[in-house]
């Protein structure tokens, strides 16, 4: 452990944890978004249900799911820890501080955006992960995950909450994606412009897709 104690004991090490776990979450989101986008095939959720079935029973996926949860918990705990540590580094606040003059609001609001994400995730996991993995409802064949989705998104308030969650995600990633590389020590004129534009489009596209899913189900665009 000696060589890795810096991950917990130093500010830079803590940011390494944020960056690594953040990138893992970004990778997961790409897969998650791809699988869920199968509902847009508009075949009554058949293809999507097959994919979801596969994800639910594949050993490799289930093992990765455990690491994903650990990563998310680590990311959230370390993120909250850093937010408090950073807030207390300036006990006497400024009377007037013009943050907009030198940085983007969302880069200064990662803690808030992350907390909104966390609250959203708790609800989201309860809606789908809990139902599909921990109850008999879907494995017994009484219902499908697609059916569950239609049920959940029949409620317009839930749709609104999901869209707020996705907007938080969009801004969290607009800063977070490129920030992770900087934290891990990657910044070079050869590839950083690519990372920045890739991160921008990744955040935008994935967020639009995620936002359209509940809307499409609610409004009956996909049946």
């Amino acid at each position: 452990m000696g060589a890795f104690s810096f991950l917990l004991n130093s500010t830079i090490g803590k940011k390494v944890i944020m960056g690594v776990t953040g990138i893992c979450l970004v990778g997961f989101l790409a897969v998650h978004c791809f699988v869920n986008s199968l509902i847009f095939v508009n075949d009554g959720g058949e293809l999507f249900n097959t994919a979801a079935e596969f994800m639910a029973h594949n050993v490799l996926i289930r093992t990765m799911e455990i690491f994903l949860f650990l990563g998310l918990i680590l990311h959230a705990l370390q993120g909250i820890n850093l937010v408090f540590k950073n807030m207390s580094a300036r006990k006497v606040k400024y009377y007037k501080q013009d943050g907009a003059a030198n940085s983007k609001w969302y880069s200064r609001s990662m803690g808030l955006l992350g907390t909104l994400l966390l609250l959203f995730l708790i609800l989201h996991l309860k809606h789908f992960w809990y139902v599909s993995r921990l109850t008999e409802e879907i494995s017994s064949g009484d219902d499908t995950l697609f059916g569950e989705m239609k049920e959940v998104f029949a409620n317009p308030i839930v749709v609104a909450i999901y869209i707020i969650g996705v907007i938080s995600l969009a801004y969290h990633l607009l800063h977070g994606f490129q920030s992770a590389f900087q934290s891990l020590g990657f910044n070079h004129k050869k590839y950083t412009p690519f990372i920045k534009s890739f991160g921008f489009w990744y955040s935008i596209i994935i967020s639009i897709l995620f936002a359209v899913m509940p809307l499409a189900l609610h409004l009956g665009w996909v049946k």
């Binding site: 060589a3 890795f4 810096f6 830079i12 007037k96 943050g99 030198n102 940085s103 200064r108």
Partner: protein, 254 residues
């Protein structure tokens, strides 16, 4: 020539480190737009002295943008509204007649207020003392040309060496993080052959001291670089992170 102006200043007054401190309002009249911000403060202080009150304490030395002393947080920004300059290089033509200007000291736990606008920045000195140097035996300096250095490395080192240790990066950062300063001081050495022998121990020691002083962690908002009078690049922070990870994970002297 534009007209002279009358201004209201809202300045932080604090007798000493123990004092709670408060804002005081002052009026200054007939200020020339060609004065520097510090010269305007000189006018105000002359006024205060002639009234028999305590002049406002503020740090300054070179008054030409190279010493880094003139720490003033003006209208919510370190060194005021312009980019790439220090307070002493800020001219009154950046303000309008009738403006109210708020002036505060740098705010960070690691930079305690000594008096009024003067803060204690010796935390930076302790970070330098922890490793921001190269060890050489005394004696005659070696001929400069006997150590070849690529133009690219020389330029990177030189750009990093432009840091004047003013602390505006810390003042601007929402986390009061000193990463830009520390990374500049590391990179001015780590790109030169003379900096190589102690490169890994230097980054470990300086980051350790930085954390000990109570500066916050970097969240890559970029406020530091945007407000830095010497426009030190964020690339320095990434290089430092990279070296720091290497120093902990693969350096054999770790």
């Amino acid at each position: 020539m534009s007209e002279n102006m009358n201004l209201t200043l809202k300045v932080w007054r604090q007798r000493n480190n123990k004092d709670k401190g408060k804002f005081e309002d002052f009026k200054v009249n007939d200020i020339s737009p060609d004065m520097s911000f510090l010269e305007m403060f000189d006018v105000l202080n002359e006024q205060l002295i002639s009234q028999g009150s305590d002049p406002i304490a503020f740090d300054h030395d070179c008054r030409e943008g190279i010493c880094g002393m003139c720490s003033m947080y003006i209208n919510g920004r370190p060194h005021g509204p312009k980019e790439g300059i220090t307070t002493c290089q800020l001219h009154m033509r950046s303000f309008k007649d009738g403006d109210t200007i708020v002036v505060e000291p740098w705010r960070a736990n690691a930079f305690p207020v000594i008096k009024d606008l003067v803060v204690d920045r010796t935390a930076f000195d302790r970070i330098i003392a922890a490793g921001g140097f190269i060890s050489v035996n005394t004696g005659n300096a070696q001929d400069g040309n006997s150590i070849p250095i690529s133009k690219i490395d020389a330029d990177i080192a030189f750009a990093a060496a432009a840091c004047i240790g003013c602390g505006a990066c810390v003042a601007a950062c929402k986390n009061a993080s000193a990463m830009l300063f520390v990374s500049a001081k590391i990179n001015q050495l780590s790109h030169l052959p003379q900096g190589q022998p102690e490169r890994m121990q230097r980054v470990r020691a300086m980051v350790h001291q930085m954390d000990k002083e109570g500066f916050g962690a970097c969240t890559n908002t970029g406020a530091c670089s945007a407000e830095c009078p010497k426009e030190i690049s964020l690339v320095n922070i990434a290089s430092m992170n990279c070296d720091y990870i290497k120093a902990n994970v693969i350096d054999s002297n770790g």
